[in-house]
Symmetry: C2
Subunit: 186 residues, 2 copies
Amino acid sequence: MNANAKEAILAAAKRAAQARGYGGLNFRDLAAEVGIKSASIHYHFPTKADLGAAVARRYREDAMAALDALRAEAPDALAALRRYPETFRHALLAGNRMCLASFLAAEHDDLPEPVLREVLAFMEANVAWLARQLAEAGITAEEQAEPRARAVMAAIAGAQLMARSRADVGAYDALIAGYRQAGMLP
Amino acid sequence: MNANAKEAILAAAKRAAQARGYGGLNFRDLAAEVGIKSASIHYHFPTKADLGAAVARRYREDAMAALDALRAEAPDALAALRRYPETFRHALLAGNRMCLASFLAAEHDDLPEPVLREVLAFMEANVAWLARQLAEAGITAEEQAEPRARAVMAAIAGAQLMARSRADVGAYDALIAGYRQAGMLP
DNA sequence: GGTTGTCTACCATCTGATAGGTAGACAACG
DNA sequence: CGTTGTCTACCTATCAGATGGTAGACAACC
């Protein structure tokens, strides 16, 4: 913990925000979890908006790294697409958390502008990744890949929301299966 | 305003919660909007949990009344289904608000138990309505109507979330259109 | 006269944030 | 070598504002 406090703060804040949102983030609890004092968090992140933006940024970076790894491991675009829902399943499983960007999207009206910017960037990055795989897999035509990618992402965000309300990963799995049956997901 | 304060409180709280969630609800702002003092709200709703549960309950009742009216006006189940997305479109249009239940689902970890119960009840009621229309319209077999209804609801919740993050009803419309094209919605 | 609804006046708690201090690492200078 | 100054990363102590909630007075109404 003494090793690199800033990283520890980011990691803890990421977890907390996925469970309680931006409004649920608070310096004292975060400090206690990391093992320092709240004033020290202000040293690394002067304001809550700074912290929120940094967390959202880190979340996006981690997610993109995971998607790139997923694509690298998968034999083709279709296989990568099939495994896309797993990305979010993991958070539900570990503490009934959800996609940070989806949570923050709900909190839209209370977000500092830099935080909101990161949220939108996360979504655009996901849409771009999805659109690439969709086109490459030949599921949609090149020019229809983006709207379809947006639909996929929105549908998955909704599934997380529903599953979280019941604190039940099974609900998420069932919804994903339903999307597949309806031809929404490959 | 003096006419029926309790109703006015509920209405204002419903609007506020659709924009800022349960955590965003606060007695002082609510009182100011209604034109009374915060202590008076405590008279009608002793605790915040009571207020939250009452708001969620009212939201569910209003929504069900709207759905019943929709079904009564529509010539058949298919027509009613086609107009289902409009229910949520309205909130987005009026102040970039979203479905209260979806918002509260995100706040799952911070909800008093009675509030959470109402959220789940709202979802079950919507699923039941959707399943009925889906079966009646012959879109799915009777026994597959419920899982499909859940998928429809989750997809629409996700669309609201995405649209809200961009404060753009057009995004919602585009996503609904995408769902239709993918065969997810009639 | 009791019930109902609202008020004024508080209170305890939590929140983000600031001021000011301190211990240690490190480099520069003489 | 040792003194000096600077920087980093933390600390203690405190603040102002917001929040949910309570007590008790008061007036209107039945």
